[in-house]
């Protein structure tokens, strides 16, 4: 009985750990533009037409993307980009001056300290609720923090808005890139 319990615990640990390793060597595109993967928290499922998966070679052959040697490529297709703004455009809309572009961007991720390439971030303006400049308590470094509405586009007010598949896939991508072991939708769709 104890042996069975131990085996179960080991299996649980392996299942969680495998989820964390899943997003290695993956890229995210919005139409034909590579974007920072943290953008999945800020894109609005209701304006997304589809999200497709390709291997690097496939994406290169079919969409002419520079993805040779990449294991997994996710392409978000969105024709109506009227609601989507780049990182610098967002800073401008929230009245930050040009000096702010050089600050590190922190999105409260449990996995990453700062966004590696913040200039590659894309935002649906309706998903952004707050843009802050904070001073880190310990180091005294200024950094930018951006809040978004709800973490799971598949849940909350988004339920019923836009394509269900896009909502599910966005939620799944959040788990995939952030390494959530406990994201229900991530676990449910990680085999796709």
């Amino acid at each position: 009985m104890i042996k069975a319990f131990r085996l179960l615990m080991v299996l649980l640990v392996i299942a969680t750990a495998s989820g964390r390793l899943y997003a290695q060597n993956a890229k995210l595109y919005l139409n034909n533009k590579e974007i920072a993967f943290q953008s999945v928290h800020f894109l609005d499922a209701s304006t997304i037409d589809s999200i497709n998966f390709y291997t690097g070679t496939e994406a290169n052959a079919k969409l002419n993307l520079q993805t040779t040697g990449v294991d997994s490529v996710y392409v978000i297709f969105e024709r109506d980009l009227s609601d989507v703004v780049s990182y610098y455009q967002l800073l401008e809309r929230y009245h930050l001056d040009n000096r702010a572009r050089a600050l590190p961007l922190d999105l409260n991720s449990g996995r990453y300290d700062y966004v590696k390439d913040p200039q590659l971030m894309m935002f649906s303006i309706n998903r952004v609720t707050r843009v802050a400049v904070e001073m880190a308590y310990k180091t005294g470094i200024d950094y930018i923090n951006i809040d978004h509405m709800y973490n799971r586009p598949y849940m909350g007010p988004y339920k019923g808005i836009g394509s269900a598949k896009a909502r599910r896939t966005l939620t799944w991508l959040q788990g995939y890139f952030e390494g959530y072991g406990d994201n229900f939708y991530y676990k449910q769709y990680k085999g796709k």
Partner: protein, 203 residues
């Protein structure tokens, strides 16, 4: 009959008070008892008080409502006034300087705002009159308002941890400072209680 009329009158008064507190974007209501604050002779937003270093107070003068109304007018002085004089070395950032310190463009910022001093928080009378000692503010943001008219709002916060009581050095004005501080703490607590009660009232 008289009793019934009295109860009806009390109920109507309560209804009016609750309604006044629900005016969107409005802070001026029955809970507002903030005195006017003058620092070094300049009128500032009363919440600026929380950013000051008390060791730098040279003088702390309490002006009664009667005197304040004579000096500053009825609306400005009806809850009294406080005049603080700081030592020469004390530095204060005005609204433009503070916004610049946090990489924002002051002219473009919204005129509604909220300040959190760590153990409480209130909306500004006017954020453009807010003055703060440098290095006390650690958070400056623009957020979307959850209340109509759903525009942008400034949110400012300072370090939330109070130093241990042993480390707080006494000043000659501790009694007056304590009484002044209580006005804001009481208002903040009452507003939080109203805010927390809203979902219950809505069922």
């Amino acid at each position: 009959m008289k009793k019934a009329a009295l109860i009806l009158l009390i109920m109507l008064t309560c209804l009016f008070k609750v309604k006044a507190q629900h005016i969107p974007g409005s802070r001026i209501d029955s809970l507002d008892h903030r005195p006017l604050l003058m620092i070094n002779g300049k009128k500032v937003d009363p919440l600026s008080f929380f950013t000051l270093d008390r060791q730098q107070f040279k003088n702390f003068k309490v002006i009664t409502p009667e005197q304040a109304m004579k000096r500053f007018g009825y609306d400005a002085g009806k809850f009294g006034a406080i005049e603080i004089t700081l030592v020469k070395e004390a530095k204060l950032l005005n609204w433009t300087q503070l916004a610049k310190r946090f990489y924002f463009i002051a002219d473009q910022l919204p005129v509604n705002g909220h300040f959190n001093w760590g153990y409480g928080g209130l909306d500004f009378n006017d954020p453009r009159l807010f003055a703060a000692a440098p290095s006390t503010i650690t958070y400056f943001s623009i957020g979307r308002s959850h209340e109509a008219p759903y525009g942008q709002v400034v949110w400012i916060a300072q370090r939330g941890v109070l130093p241990p009581k042993k480390e707080i050095k006494p000043t000659p004005f501790d009694k007056e400072i304590g009484a002044f501080e209580q006005i804001f703490i009481i208002e903040s607590n009452k507003r939080s209680a109203i805010e927390n009660a809203k979902p219950l009232l809505q069922g």
